[in-house]
Each structure stands twice: as structure tokens, then as C-alpha cells.
């Protein structure tokens, strides 16, 4: 078939040798011609497998068809029926394990580049049309408070505003976006895009209160007693884990959260124009193998480090980072010390990191998670010369809200317990979703949880009973 001869179209991007020292976005995105060519690879399956892989069930063949026909804004609108933040998801979703892994073209060839097409449509719409909010229904008389302005909170806020509720978001930081603003770097997700999405939510009438640390500034109970009819908790997974090895409090050792927050939120990469400093490093070790580790390593490079290594205790196949990000990191010259575990960080007499002692690992029997457990190789210890260490081994749940909210139950890891179908917590009128419930996960899952919560909060505030099991199933099947 002629169609299959067209290869998966690459996205033009900055050359590695250029981009490794700047903070501009790495890919330039498809041109309309490339997008149409790529879209023409889709065979418009009758029973599209790709939709099954999408956590929010975007009608993929429909939007791809619109791109093929040249109706790019129509394509963006089609995506937005299911996903309010396509410019963000097109950039950060792990499509290779969601929609694209299911694409039938992928059986023999490379799958349709769904993520790149999503990104193209969203960017085209943003740059070429006035995005106007839909006409809003009249005010229901109900008010909702959203705690946390990350993807989960923004989704709930947008959905509830579209249903006619008055919505206020309370955000601890001085800017909106959660991890999208403080965590994911500019070169992967330009902040102007996050701002555009937040502006859209504001156009829907949502008010955002910054510098509002709920639990301290105001408690959840105070929100409920001060006129909010329901509360959504989308506070994210913001409690950095450390390795608990000697030397971790030396100067030059950062959590990835701190390192990325300094650079992204506080713009330390533009010091001294911006006042927040960050370590000026020569040799950086980043501990961990996830997206956050890749972001930290690539940030270190752009901040001017000579040598940056990812130190990960398992092998490449177990690395949780997106394949594309690992590939990008490698192209930029990041080194990988795999099957390696740090045991101690050593410092000089001024309290600065000077090296790190590591041990080599090998993969043993599978553990509870099914992954082969790394075991230390006796006698393989060695020292790495480093002046900066970024610990990027995951985040736990921030206890501030649970600690100050009587009646709100958490599990043994401190995550808030919420019903999968309704996002309801143990406290009446209080709902929760995103990383604070499921642990550090993905943007799209946080948004999915936000949608579920918005529906349930709407019912709760309006006194509409929950649908029965059979009704709920009817709704689900009528969607596709």
C-alpha cells in the first residue's frame, strides 16, 4: 500500500550542539505540510485501538482526519472536547506507552505520531486564532474552592466554571501551573504555553489566589465554613525524598525539586538579572532514572556544567523516563552511569561536595514489583569526582493539608484516599485527585482525575444523586 511507504515524520528540532547550552524549546514542531503528511499515515480504523490507550479518550482518528484535510483549528477543537490542555499534553504525555503503542500501524511500521499531531493542532490554534471561551451558563449559586493550581486543579476549575459555578483556586506559590511551571523546564514546555492555558481558565471566570498555603493561611474547614460548597484538593506530590546516605546535607546537594524550582520558577538561569542563585557547577551527578532526573541533568548542562552524569541503580530498560527524553539527553552529551548506586557523598572542609562514592550493581531476582532487584557487587566501590549532586529519586505526599484537616483519611504513604469513580474523600464535600492521591504520576492522569472530580462535585453541590452502576456504564459506552 502506498500509504505505508510514508515514514513517520520527524519533528524538526534544535541541533544537540546548539540546544545543550540554551533554554529554548528543543523541537520546533511540525510545519503544516509535515503534519498533513504524517496525518495521511493514519488508516482511520473502524475500531481505533489508539483511543483505548488514551486516558481521556480523545477521538484520535477524527482529529487526525481534520489535520489531513487541512482544518487545523477544527482538529484542535476536536481534541479539546476531551482534553482541555492539548498543547501541554502533546509535549509531555508518554504517548509511546499510551495511544501510540496501540496504533495498528505500529505493528509493522512506526506508529502514527499522535502526540506530535496533537501538539501541532494545539499550537496552530493558539497562534492563529482568538481562543474564545464558550458561552457560560448562568450562575448556579454554588461556590467551589480548589486547592493547588497544577493540572488537576486547573482541570476541575475549568470544568466547574463551564457548568456555571463560581470557582476560586488557592495556590501556595506565586505562579499558577504546579509542576508545569516549577518542575518541567522551559526547553521541554515553554512557560508561555502554560500561561496561555491558565489564561483560558481565567477567561472562564475562575479566580486564582496566590501565596495561599492552605492548612496555614486558611484551613479546609475554614473554606467550607466561609461559603464554599465543596473543596477539591490537588496539592500534588511535593515532598522530596532523599537517599539517606552520609553527606546529603553538604552544599551542592539539591533535591530535584529545589534545583528545578530555582531554575524554572525563580529563573536562576538568568542570575543576576533574577536574584535567585543556583550552583555554578563543573561536574554534576543526577541520582535517578525518571523524567525528573532527565530534566535536572539537561538543566545542569544548560546552566553551564562541563560534565553531567545520570547515576541509576538499575539498567536502561528499567529507567522510568520517557524514551524520547533519554534519547534527547544522550544526544546532548549526558553520560549514563547505569547499575550504579551512590553510598556516600564526600565534602571539603567548607562543607562543599567534592566527590561521591558509588558501588556497581547487578540485577538479581525479580522483586515484588516484578522488576529485577539490583544487588551491590562486592568490592566494586569507586569514587566519582563531582561538585553538585541532584537527588531525583521521587516525591512523597506533602502532609500539610491532611495534618490540618480533621476527618481526611490518608493511606500509609500519606496520600489522600479518594474514591476512584467520584474522587470523594472521607470528608463530606471534600474531593481530591492527581498526584496527591495516586503518587507522582502524569499530567494526563491528574487531568483525568480532575474531570471525574468535577462531575462528582457538580452533583454534590446541586444535590443530584450519583448515577447507579448501570447508568454509569451506559454513559461510558455512549462516549465512544
Amino acid at each position: 500500500m502506498a500509504k505505508e511507504k510514508i515514514p513517520r515524520q520527524k519533528m524538526p528540532e534544535q541541533r544537540p550542539e546548539d540546544r545543550r547550552r540554551n533554554f529554548q524549546e528543543v523541537p520546533f514542531g511540525y510545519t503544516p505540510e509535515l503534519a498533513q503528511l504524517e496525518a495521511s499515515r493514519c488508516i482511520m480504523c473502524k475500531k481505533p485501538k489508539c483511543i483505548e490507550g488514551c486516558p481521556v479518550e480523545i477521538n484520535i482518528p477524527a482529529f487526525v482526519a481534520l489535520i489531513k484535510s487541512g482544518d487545523f483549528i477544527g482538529a484542535a477543537k476536536k481534541i479539546k472536547e476531551a482534553n482541555a490542555l492539548p498543547a501541554i499534553c502533546g509535549r509531555v504525555c508518554p504517548q509511546e506507552e499510551q495511544c501510540e503503542v496501540k496504533c495498528v500501524i505500529g505493528i509493522k511500521n512506526d506508529p502514527v505520531a499522535i502526540g506530535r499531531l496533537e501538539r501541532f493542532a494545539a499550537d496552530f490554534e493558539r497562534l492563529n486564532s482568538q481562543i474564545e471561551p464558550p458561552p457560560l451558563p448562568s450562575f448556579t449559586g454554588k461556590k467551589a474552592a480548589i486547592v493547588g493550581c497544577g493540572p488537576a486543579g486547573l482541570t476541575v476549575a475549568g470544568e466547574l466554571a463551564k457548568l456555571g459555578h463560581k470557582v476560586t483556586i488557592f495556590e501556595a506559590l506565586h505562579q499558577p501551573g504546579g509542576v508545569l511551571i516549577y518542575g518541567i523546564p522551559e526547553f521541554r514546555l515553554p512557560k508561555a504555553i502554560v500561561e496561555a492555558e491558565v489564561d483560558y481558565v481565567k477567561k472562564l471566570g475562575v479566580e486564582i489566589v496566590y501565596n495561599a498555603v492552605i492548612g496555614r493561611f486558611q484551613t479546609v474547614d475554614e473554606l467550607l465554613s466561609e461559603g464554599y460548597d465543596s473543596v477539591f484538593l490537588g496539592t500534588g506530590a511535593g515532598l522530596p525524598y532523599f537517599m539517606n546516605i552520609p553527606g546529603e546535607n553538604l552544599n551542592g546537594v539539591y533535591s530535584a525539586n529545589e534545583y528545578l524550582t530555582r531554575s524554572n520558577l525563580m529563573k536562576a538561569y538568568r542570575f543576576p538579572e533574577y536574584d535567585t542563585p543556583i550552583a555554578v557547577s563543573k561536574k554534576v551527578a543526577v541520582l535517578g532514572g525518571g523524567n525528573v532526573a532527565m530534566d535536572s541533568a539537561r538543566t545542569a548542562l544548560r546552566l553551564g556544567a562541563d560534565e553531567v552524569s545520570i547515576v541509576y541503580r538499575r539498567s536502561r530498560t528499567e529507567m522510568p523516563a520517557r524514551v524520547e527524553e533519554v534519547h534527547h539527553a544522550e544526544e546532548e552529551g549526558i553520560q549514563f552511569q547505569l547499575l550504579t548506586n551512590p553510598v556516600e557523598i564526600l565534602g571539603d572542609d567548607q562543607g562543599w561536595v567534592k566527590s561521591m562514592r558509588c558501588i556497581r550493581m547487578e540485577l538479581g531476582e525479580p522483586d515484588a514489583s516484578g522488576r529485577r532487584r539490583p544487588v551491590p557487587l562486592k568490592g566494586s566501590e569507586f569514587e566519582m569526582e563531582v561538585d553538585t549532586v541532584v537527588v531525583s529519586i521521587g516525591n512523597g505526599a506533602n502532609p500539610l493539608v491532611p495534618q490540618t484537616t480533621p476527618g481526611l483519611n490518608t493511606n500509609k504513604w500519606g496520600n489522600i484516599i479518594a474514591d476512584e469513580k467520584t474522587a470523594a474523600t472521607s470528608k463530606p464535600g471534600v474531593f481530591a485527585g492527581g498526584d496527591i492521591v495516586i503518587g507522582a504520576a502524569t499530567v494526563i492522569l491528574a487531568m483525568g482525575a480532575g474531570k471525574i472530580a468535577a462531575r462528582a462535585m457538580h452533583r454534590f453541590m446541586m444535590g443530584i444523586p450519583e448515577p447507579s452502576e448501570s447508568e454509569a456504564q451506559g454513559m461510558a459506552s455512549s462516549k465512544s
Binding site: A212, P240, S255, N257
Partner: protein, 284 residues
């Protein structure tokens, strides 16, 4: 945006600002702090709440101009606004009727001590306040501390006012006098807190200190503020700022506070050399 409605120079390079922040003024308790960001390009720095007026909806912030961020704050005038004020952060001081509480404030540490002394006194304690500074001109809040305590002692390092010596000199003589002390609270520069804790440890006096490491978010998200207390890593912004002084690793704290000395100096120099850019330089 939080408007400044009052400004006073308390001593050379020590400034007092009263800013509008009604929610925080209402919610805050003794021992808590705020994080402020002076302007769009500013960094986030923690400042203890020296006092609050819930009726007027204002907070009193007292700080010493050391680096660019505090110089910038100090250059703001009545009618100007601080871009961001976040709080109240940290755990409040544990206040109850202990009996006799010694409240020691060294240098700028008198400011955070003030609300604690006030709260301790209101809870029925005998509050012996000891405040000190390098010299007479640098001593702050003497009147307010007098009102907040049962008895007030003053020391200066150079003897220009009060007892010639350190706050610990006075503490030693109070201990020697046989006064029964139930709790000591010490706030000030790290060497002062360290010396106070060494002294109280000898007499087994429970001692609370309030720590001031470098911070970024102030909500437990980044770990910049970590310190070692009793051999364990704690986050000052959420687990503190107050800790058992006998357990704190002060040596590590001092080193961590000095992490950005070079950059701080660069910022400070540029700020002082470009007085025209003082206030709200806008970034491009």
C-alpha cells in the same frame, strides 16, 4: 501585592516595615514566619513576623539589610508594595505555663523573639528577657521587649550600653543567682544560639532555638531548608522553625547558610553600583 503603610529605621541598616496582609495577620501565631518576594525578579526570603495587628490587618517585619534582597526591601517606602507575602509558615511556638521562661534575643533575633515573649507572658509565665547587640546603636526594640517581659536585661559586646558582654554573660549570672529557670528560648545569629545552648546544656535547661536557613518555597516542597537535628534531617519550614537547641547541628547550619556567598556578593555589588535600578527593574 502587599502595601507598606509604615516604615521606620530602627538602627543602622535595620528596618521595620508594616505591611497589609489581613489573612496572615489573623491566622499567624507566635514563632511563625512569612516568605516575601520584593518584586518580579526578586528571590523568596523568609522573615519572621515580629508582630501583627489582626484588626488593622497588618504584619510587622523587621530585618537587617545584608544582601541585595534585604537592601531592596529596605529601599521600599510607605505606599510601595511588596510583590508577594506568603504565610504564616512553620509551626507556632509551643506556648504554655512553664513557670519562668528566659527569652534571649541577639542582634536582629530580638525581632522574632518579641511575639514569643509576648505570648509566653500572656500564658502566665515569668518572662526574663535578655537582649543584646554589638553596640548601643544596633540595639533594637528595647521598649517593646520591656513591655513583653517581666524583667528585661540588656548587653552590648562593647559595653556602650547595659552589661558589657554577651547575652550569655547575663544568662550565666541569672543562673548563678539561683533563679529557677524552666525554659530558655534563644534566637539570634548562629554563634549566639550555639553559645547559649552550650551554656544551658551544662545546667540541663531545656532550650528552644529558632533556625533561619536558606529557603525557597517554605512549604516542604524543596528541602533547601534542611538541617540536622538529633542526627536526623528535618525541614525547617515545616518541621520547625523551632527545635531543641541541644540537638541542632549548628556547624552544618552555618555552612549551609553560606552556600551562595559568592553570588550574594555579586548581587549586592551590582545593586549598590546601580542605585538607579534600585526598585523595580523589569526583566526583559
Amino acid at each position: 501585592m502587599n502595601e507598606i503603610i509604615y516604615k521606620k529605621v530602627l538602627a543602622e541598616s535595620v528596618k521595620e516595615l508594616r505591611v497589609v496582609a489581613p489573612r496572615i495577620a489573623k491566622a499567624r501565631k507566635a514563632g511563625q514566619f512569612v516568605i516575601v518576594r520584593a518584586n518580579e525578579t526578586g528571590e523568596r526570603i523568609p522573615l519572621t513576623i515580629a508582630d501583627a495587628d489582626p484588626k488593622a490587618g497588618t504584619l510587622t517585619l523587621i530585618f537587617q539589610e545584608v544582601g541585595k534582597s534585604t537592601l531592596l526591601l529596605g529601599s521600599l517606602e510607605v505606599g510601595d508594595s511588596i510583590q508577594d507575602v506568603v504565610g504564616p509558615l512553620g509551626k507556632p511556638t509551643h506556648v504554655e505555663e512553664f513557670g519562668t521562661v528566659v527569652c534571649m534575643g541577639g542582634g536582629i533575633g530580638v525581632a522574632p523573639m518579641h511575639p514569643i515573649a509576648k505570648a509566653m507572658k500572656a500564658a502566665g509565665n515569668k518572662v526574663i528577657a535578655i537582649i543584646g547587640a554589638r553596640n548601643k546603636d544596633l540595639l533594637i526594640m528595647e521598649d517593646r521587649m520591656k513591655a513583653a517581659s517581666t524583667e528585661l536585661h540588656v548587653s552590648t559586646d562593647d559595653g556602650t550600653y547595659g552589661v558589657h558582654g554577651f547575652v550569655t554573660t547575663i544568662l550565666q549570672s541569672i543562673i548563678d543567682s539561683g533563679e529557677k529557670i524552666n525554659l530558655v528560648v534563644a534566637i539570634g545569629p548562629v554563634p549566639m544560639m550555639n553559645a547559649s545552648c552550650k551554656l544551658t546544656a551544662k545546667f540541663d535547661l531545656p532550650t528552644v532555638v529558632s533556625l533561619n536557613p536558606i529557603m525557597v518555597d517554605g512549604t516542604g516542597m524543596c528541602g533547601a531548608c534542611r538541617v540536622t537535628v538529633g542526627g536526623k534531617t528535618r525541614f525547617v519550614c515545616v518541621d520547625g522553625p523551632e527545635f531543641d537547641g541541644h540537638q541542632v547541628d549548628f556547624v552544618e547550619l552555618v555552612k549551609r547558610q553560606r552556600a551562595y556567598l559568592k553570588q550574594e556578593d555579586q548581587s549586592r555589588q551590582e545593586f549598590l553600583q546601580h542605585p538607579d535600578k534600585r526598585c523595580f527593574e523589569t526583566a526583559t
